[in-house]
């Protein structure tokens, strides 16, 4: 069975401080990993995916297969980063069922 674990329900950081949102997964195979974000009163939206290897809004995430982790990082937090962040996993190869973690609320303190 596939499982995504986000150990922190809430992460509070000061503006300008580095951010790391933790995500660990269990999956017997080669997964696709994603980060989704939900800003206040907005819809859930894709932030980034590991296969794209891109930086979105200053966020990056590296897939570490040895540690089965996909932590989300940003060197300098901004107030507009405050949101709910969900790590998610899917089987690679075009299969569409996505398993989400329980989410971490990021609060950036001005």
């Amino acid at each position: 069975a596939q499982r995504v674990t986000q150990p922190e329900k809430l992460l509070s950081v000061f503006k300008g401080a580095p951010v790391e949102l933790k995500c660990n997964y269990s999956y017997s195979g080669s997964p696709e990993l994603f980060w989704y974000v939900q800003y206040s009163r907005q819809r859930l939206q894709l932030l980034l995916r590991h296969i794209s290897r891109e930086s979105i809004k200053g966020f990056t995430a590296d897939l570490n297969k040895g540690e089965t982790s996909f932590h989300l990082k940003k060197p300098f937090a901004q107030e507009e980063d405050s949101a709910m962040y969900y790590c998610a996993l899917s089987k690679s190869g075009g299969y569409q069922k996505v398993t989400f973690g329980t989410g971490t609320k990021l609060q950036v303190i001005p």
């Binding site: 859930l44 939206q45 296969i51 569409q96 069922k97 329980t102």
Partner: protein, 116 residues
Amino acid sequence: GAGVSQTPSNKVTEKGKYVELRCDPISGHTALYWYRQSLGQGPEFLIYFQGTGAADDSGLPNDRFFAVRPEGSVSTLKIQRTERGDSAVYLCASSLRLAGNIDEQFFGPGTRLTVL
């Protein structure tokens, strides 16, 4: 263009009643998904449609839940004999579904279902 829309935005019903939740995907998106999000949890996969057919309904919790997409566009999630435990936000998403790729799912605003 318009994003994914869901109606109603809120639905309050009594235990044992039947409810229907509607999802209008982005025009041209062939794939449609339903998720359920309980308080304090992440979205939980229910069912995925590719066109008119349910490609994966393994997330439906029991036979009280059923979903259709008869013309490959609008979808309806149907819940029979509702229970208090069905209370949640029901999310719909759609995607373009390019062959062989995981493509971006665009989410609707959700329907908040409350079963009294």
